[in-house]
C-alpha cells in the first residue's frame, strides 16, 4: 500500500528557503533580481477592480428601459462623484422632474437598455505584497510577483491560525513540557513571537493579544480553546485568514503535547532574532502547513548552508530513523525505527496494515501502523 501523503514535518536549523510572493491579479513588480530585501519591503503592487453598485435607474425615474439612454447625464466610462446627478427624467411638459444621484465616487461601468440597471464602480483597491522574510530576490515572475530566497531555520508546524507576522523570537516556557501560563505573559513581550511548551489555553491567548504579542509557537492546543478563540467550530482545516489579533503555530497537535525537544532547542538557539511566522494551514490536495522562518543571513554564509544541505539529503524511513507517533494509543511519543516488516499485520481494530517496529523513548518495543508515525528530520 503506497501512501500518497507522506507525513513528516520539516524541522531544520540550516537550510535554503524560497518564498513565492505572488499578486492575485497581474500588476507591477517593484524589485529586480539580486536585490536584497527586508521583510517589510513592498515587492509588487496591483489594483483590484473597485466594488460595484447596481442601481435600477428606470424604477427610480419611473421610466421604461428603452428610455434610459435619453435620461442618462453620464455615459459609460464617465467618472462620477457621490451625490452627483446620474440621470434625470421629466414628464408632463417638463412640469414633473425626477432625478437619480450617485451613491458613490467612481465611474459608470455599464447602462442596460434591457433591465434598466446602471452599474457604478468605485475607485480601484490597491494591493501590495511585502517580502515577508529578509532575503534576496531570486526570481522575478513578470507582472505577477517574485521569489525571495533566504537561508536559515525552517520549522513546519502541524496546525495554525492567523496570517503572516514578523517579530523577535522569545523563549517563554522553561521546558518542552511546561504549559504557557497567565504569569508567563508579561508586558515586555509586546511585539514578540513567543515560544511555549506543551499547551496554551484561550485565556492565555487573550492576555497575549491584549499585551500586543504578535505570535505564539507552542506544542499543543485544546480544540475547546480553539473553538472559544475563533467563536465557531472549525470544520475544515483551511486557515490563515482569521482576524484574531495574533498568529498561532502549533507544532505537535491537539491536546497537551510537549513540543519536540529538537524544535525547542533550535528555537532556543535563535532566541532574539527576527522571525517570520504564518499560521496558514490547508490540509487538502496541496498541503500547506504553518511555518516558522528565522533568516540567518548574518550568521552563516550561503556556502556553509549549502554544505549542510547536501550532507543531509533526505532519506525515507529506515531502521534507526527517528519517528514520532501521531495516533493513539502512543500519540506524541518519540521513538526509533527497529524494523520495517514486509507483511500486512492485523491491529487490535482488525485493520490489516503495513507496520513498523518501533522502540519508544521509554524502551518499550511496539508494532504500529506505518501511517501512524512520522519521521523527524535529524
Amino acid at each position: 500500500m503506497a501512501h500518497a501523503y507522506t507525513p513528516g514535518l520539516r524541522v531544520v536549523e540550516k537550510t535554503i528557503i524560497y518564498k513565492e510572493r505572488r499578486l492575485p491579479l497581474r500588476g507591477t513588480v517593484l524589485v529586480k533580481k539580486g536585490d536584497k530585501v527586508q521583510y517589510d519591503k513592498i515587492v509588487a503592487r496591483t489594483e483590484l477592480p473597485g466594488n460595484v453598485h447596481m442601481m435600477n435607474v428606470v424604477n427610480k425615474l419611473n421610466i421604461t428601459p428603452g428610455e434610459i439612454k435619453d435620461c442618462m447625464l453620464k455615459k459609460e466610462g464617465d467618472p462620477i462623484k457621490r451625490d452627483e446627478v446620474l440621470a434625470k427624467s421629466s414628464s408632463f411638459f417638463g412640469l414633473f422632474k425626477s432625478i437619480c444621484n450617485s451613491p458613490i465616487n467612481g465611474s459608470v461601468e455599464s447602462i442596460s437598455t434591457v433591465t434598466g440597471q446602471v452599474v457604478l464602480r468605485e475607485a480601484p483597491i490597491p494591493v501590495e505584497i511585502a517580502a515577508y522574510i529578509d532575503g534576496i530576490v531570486d526570481e522575478v515572475i513578470e507582472a505577477e510577483g517574485v521569489n525571495v530566497k533566504t537561508w536559515g531555520t525552517y520549522i513546519q508546524g502541524i496546525f495554525g491560525v492567523g496570517g503572516e507576522v514578523v517579530g523577535d523570537l522569545q523563549i517563554v516556557s522553561k521546558s518542552v513540557d511546561k504549559p504557557l501560563t497567565m504569569d508567563d505573559i508579561t508586558p515586555n513581550l509586546k511585539d514578540k513571537i513567543i515560544v511555549g511548551g506543551s499547551i496554551v489555553t484561550n485565556d492565555v491567548i487573550q492576555k497575549a493579544k491584549k499585551i500586543g504579542i504578535k505570535g505564539i509557537i507552542v506544542g499543543g492546543l485544546d480544540d475547546k480553546d480553539l473553538k472559544e478563540l475563533l467563536g465557531y467550530d472549525l470544520g475544515v482545516a483551511i486557515t490563515g485568514h482569521e482576524e484574531i489579533g495574533l498568529t498561532i503555530v502549533v507544532t505537535e497537535g491537539f491536546g497537551q503535547i510537549k513540543m519536540a525537544e529538537k524544535t525547542y532547542d533550535i528555537l532556543k538557539r535563535n532566541e532574539g532574532l527576527k522571525t517570520s511566522i504564518n499560521g496558514a494551514t490547508q490540509i487538502r490536495a496541496g498541503v500547506i502547513r504553518p511555518e516558522v522562518i528565522v533568516p540567518l543571513l548574518e550568521r552563516y554564509t550561503l556556502e556553509e548552508i549549502l554544505q549542510e544541505h547536501e550532507a543531509k539529503a533526505q532519506v525515507g524511513m529506515e531502521p534507526g530513523s527517528l519517528i514520532r507517533v501521531i495516533r493513539k494509543p502512543y500519540f506524541g511519543v518519540l521513538g526509533k525505527v527497529v524494523s520495517l516488516p514486509h507483511n500486512l499485520t492485523e491491529m487490535e481494530s482488525e485493520t490489516k496494515v503495513r507496520v513498523v517496529e518501533v522502540e519508544l523513548e521509554t524502551g518499550e518495543k511496539v508494532i504500529l501502523p506505518r501511517a501512524n508515525v512520522e519521521t523527524i528530520e535529524s
Binding site: 503506497a2 501512501h3 500518497a4 501523503y5 507525513p7 492575485p24 491579479l25 497581474r26 477592480p49 466594488n51 460595484v52 453598485h53 447596481m54 428601459p65 461601468e109 455599464s110 442596460s112 434591457v114 433591465t115 440597471q117 452599474v119 464602480r121 505577477e144 502541524i158 496546525f159 485544546d222 480544540d223 475547546k224 480553539l226 467550530d233 472549525l234 470544520g235 475544515v236 482545516a237 497537535g253 491537539f254 491536546g255 494551514t281 490540509i283 487538502r284 490536495a285 496541496g286 501521531i326 495516533r327 493513539k328 494509543p329 500519540f331 491491529m347 487490535e348 481494530s349 482488525e350 485493520t351 490489516k352 496494515v353 504500529l368 501502523p369 501511517a371 501512524n372 512520522e374
Partner: protein
C-alpha cells in the same frame, strides 16, 4: 480510438484523484472481461513534479510489475498489445486539484437555479454556490461572493424559452460586473455556459462575450414542465477538458495519451450507475465517502441525481461532520462512554493528520460512528435536491385534495430502493463486511427489501469511462470484480411494542430446504446465505406493519445472498429510535453488535 471494439482484449484505466492515482488492468479471459491487477501511486500535479503523467506512469509501472508483463517502454504505453506486451486502449478519469468547482445561477431559486445545480452536479462538479434573483442577497453581495469564490466555471440559466428576458439578463449583468477570475491560471478567461431563455442569447453575448469564455447551449429548462440537462452536462465536461484541465500541470500530455476524452470522476461514476439501473431495472442509491467529500448518487424511476456534500468526509472534513451532526448524534452510535474534551482533540488530530489509521478498537468504533452521521447528513441533502420539478402546473382532481403534491417530494423512496452501493475507504475497507452493512443500514434506514453492496476497490470511475467504449466489458467487471455483495436487508416499517411479533417469514433456500422464522420488534438477526446463492422469501407482516405491499400485506421475492447473508432488521422504521437513557442505549447497541458479530469483544468493548 484506433482499434475495433471486437479486437480489444486488454484495457488500462486510471483515475487521477487529488492524492492518489489508481490504475487497473482489465483483460479478456475466455469469453469475459475480468480485473487482473490494480496499482497506485501518489498523484503528481503539485510541486516538485508538477506533471500528472508522472503519477500515472508510476501507477502503471506497478500494474505492469504485478501483472508480470511490460506495459511501458521508454515511459510510453505499448499500444496496441503485441503478444504479452502492452495494452489495446488506455482511458482515464480525473478529480485532481480538487475536482471541478462551479457556481450556478438561475432566475428563481427553486426552479431554474435548482435545475442548473442538478445539471452541474450531474456533470461532475462541486456546486460552490447557487445565485438566484430571489436568494435574498443584494446585487453587491452576490458580486462580492462571485469574486471571493473564484470558481472554475459558471453555469448561467434562467427563464423558459420565449419568456421574460430581463431577469436572466440582470443575472448576466451581475456576473459581468463581478468580472470573475478563474481559480487556476492567472491569464485565461473564465468559462461560462449560458443555458437559459433563447431570446436572451444576444444580450448575454453582448454582456459576457468579451469578458469571459462564453459558450451557449440549449436551455436547461425550456418549459416549466421539462428539464433538459444533458446538453449542459456535456458542455460542462467539454469545457472542463478544454479550460480547467488544460490549466492543470501535465494534463495536455495525459489527454494525448488517452483513447477517449478524460471524464470528471463523479460524472463517470454517475454513468455506470445509470447503466446498471437501466440494465437490471432497479432503483439504486450509491455513496462514495471520501476524505474530504461525500458524493451521493441515485436512480429512481429512470431519473438520475447526484449531490456532493463538499465538506463531509472521513479525514480532511471529519471535524465538519462532527460540527454539523453534533456530539450527541455521533455518540449515540458509540457503545461506551467518552470524555468530550478527549473526543474533540482526537477528531481534530485526525483532521490534521488525515492518513492515520485507527489502531485500537475504540478509535475504529468512533470513526464508524462519524461515518454513519456523514452518510446520514449527505443522504438528507441528496433527498432535498432529488425532487420533482417545481413550478409545474398540475391538473388536479377532487381526490387530490387529500394528497396535494407541490413537487417538493423527494424522488428517493427507501421503500422501493433495490440496491445500496457503498464506496470509499471506511466502507470498502472496513475490517468486517458486516460493519459496512450496519453503517449503511443505520444511516439510510432502508425499508422493505434492499440489497447491500460495496465497491471493492473503488473502480466505478474507471468502469464509467470504459462503458463509453466497451459497455459489455464494463458491466462484466462491475458485476464480477467491482461489486461485493454483502447481503440483503429486510426491514419492516411501523411501530410496535418491544418483543411483540412483527414479521413471519418462510425462506426457501437452494436445495429445497425451507425455514420458517418469526421476528419480534427490536430484533436484528442474520441468516447466512452465501454469495451467488438466491433464496425465495415469503414475508407476512402483522397488522399495521408494512414490508412494501401496504400494511399487513404479504410479499414474496427472490433475494440474493452475500458475504453476511440475509439481515432481518426489525429495529423499527418510521420511527427508528434509540433509547434516550444512556445505559439502556449502550445495552441495545451491544445486543445488535453481538447479533451481527460487528466487533471483537476486546478493548473498550470487552465483556
Amino acid at each position: 480510438m484506433n482499434i475495433k471494439k471486437e479486437d480489444i482484449t486488454s484495457i488500462l484505466a486510471t483515475d487521477c484523484g487529488s492524492t492518489t492515482t489508481k490504475a487497473i488492468l482489465i483483460e479478456k479471459r475466455g469469453d469475459e472481461f475480468r480485473l487482473i491487477v490494480r496499482g497506485e501511486a501518489p498523484t503528481t500535479v503539485e510541486a516538485p513534479v508538477e506533471d500528472v503523467t508522472q503519477g500515472v506512469l508510476n501507477a502503471v509501472t506497478e500494474v505492469g510489475e504485478l501483472a508480470g508483463r511490460p506495459i511501458l517502454e521508454d515511459n510510453q504505453l505499448i499500444k496496441p498489445r503485441k503478444g504479452d506486451k502492452g495494452i489495446d486502449i488506455y482511458i482515464s478519469t480525473s478529480s485532481a486539484g480538487g475536482g471541478l468547482q462551479m457556481m450556478v445561477a438561475g432566475v428563481v431559486k427553486n426552479m431554474t437555479a435548482e435545475s442548473a445545480a442538478r445539471a452541474a452536479l450531474g456533470g461532475g462538479a462541486i456546486v460552490m454556490d447557487t445565485l438566484a434573483t430571489n436568494d435574498k442577497r443584494l446585487p453587491h453581495e452576490q458580486i462580492q461572493r462571485i469574486r471571493n469564490l473564484r470558481p472554475d466555471m459558471i453555469l448561467l440559466s434562467g427563464g423558459v424559452d420565449g419568456g421574460t428576458v430581463s431577469h436572466v439578463v440582470e443575472l448576466g449583468e451581475i456576473i459581468a460586473a463581478a468580472n470573475p477570475r478563474p481559480r487556476l491560471g492567472i491569464s485565461y478567461q473564465l468559462p461560462i455556459i449560458y443555458a437559459g431563455n433563447i431570446k436572451a442569447r444576444d444580450e448575454i453575448q453582448k454582456l459576457l462575450g468579451d469578458k469571459t469564455a462564453l459558450d451557449i447551449t440549449d436551455n436547461l429548462r425550456p418549459t416549466m414542465e421539462r428539464e433538459n440537462l444533458m446538453p449542459s452536462r456535456l458542455k460542462i465536461q467539454q469545457l472542463f477538458l478544454e479550460h480547467v484541465m488544460a490549466q492543470a500541470p501535465g494534463y495536455k500530455k495525459l489527454m494525448a495519451m488517452t483513447d477517449v476524452d478524460i471524464m470528471p470522476t463523479p460524472a463517470a461514476v454517475g454513468d455506470i450507475m445509470q447503466r446498471i439501473s437501466e440494465q437490471y431495472n432497479i432503483q439504486i442509491v450509491g455513496a462514495d465517502i471520501g476524505g474530504a467529500t461525500t458524493d451521493v448518487f441515485s436512480v429512481f424511476k429512470g431519473v438520475f441525481n447526484r449531490t456532493v456534500s463538499a465538506n463531509l468526509g472521513m479525514s480532511y472534513s471529519i471535524s465538519e461532520v462532527f460540527a454539523e451532526a453534533g456530539m450527541e448524534n455521533v455518540m449515540k452510535w458509540v457503545p461506551f462512554d467518552m470524555d468530550e474534551r478527549d473526543l474533540r482533540n482526537r477528531i481534530k488530530n485526525k483532521m490534521i493528520r488525515p492518513t492515520t489509521i485507527p489502531q485500537v478498537l475504540d478509535e475504529l468504533v468512533v470513526e464508524q460512528a462519524i461515518c454513519r452521521e456523514a452518510l446520514r447528513i449527505s443522504f438528507d441533502q441528496h433527498k432535498a435536491l432529488a425532487v420533482g420539478l417545481k413550478g409545474v402546473q398540475q391538473e388536479r382532481t377532487i381526490a387530490d385534495i387529500f394528497s396535494q403534491s407541490t413537487g417538493d417530494e423527494s424522488l428517493v423512496d427507501v421503500m422501493t430502493l433495490d440496491m445500496i452501493i457503498g464506496s470509499g475507504g471506511v466502507l470498502s475497507h472496513a475490517p468486517r463486511r458486516c460493519q459496512s452493512a450496519l453503517m449503511m443500514m443505520d444511516a439510510y434506514l432502508p425499508e422493505g427489501i434492499t440489497e447491500l453492496t460495496v465497491d471493492s476497490i473503488f473502480m466505478m470511475p474507471q468502469l464509467g469511462v470504459l462503458a463509453k467504449v466497451h459497455p459489455e466489458a464494463a458491466t462484466q467487471v462491475f458485476l464480477k470484480d467491482c461489486l461485493i455483495r454483502i447481503g440483503t436487508c429486510i426491514a419492516p416499517v411501523g411501530k410496535a411494542k418491544e418483543g411483540k411479533t412483527v414479521l413471519k417469514a418462510k425462506l426457501k433456500i437452494p436445495g429445497g430446504k425451507e425455514e420458517e422464522l418469526e421476528f419480534k420488534y427490536g430484533d436484528l438477526k442474520v441468516i447466512p446465505l452465501e454469495v451467488g446463492a438466491t433464496a425465495t422469501v415469503e414475508l407476512h407482516p402483522v397488522k399495521g406493519i408494512d414490508i412494501g405491499e401496504g400494511k399487513g400485506q404479504p410479499k414474496t421475492k427472490e433475494i440474493n445472498g452475500g458475504v453476511v447473508g440475509i439481515i432481518f432488521d426489525c429495529r423499527g422504521r418510521q420511527p427508528f429510535e434509540l433509547p434516550k437513557d444512556k445505559k439502556k442505549r449502550i445495552e441495545k447497541l451491544q445486543t445488535w453488535i453481538d447479533a451481527m458479530d460487528i466487533y471483537p469483544r476486546e478493548g473498550a468493548l470487552a465483556r
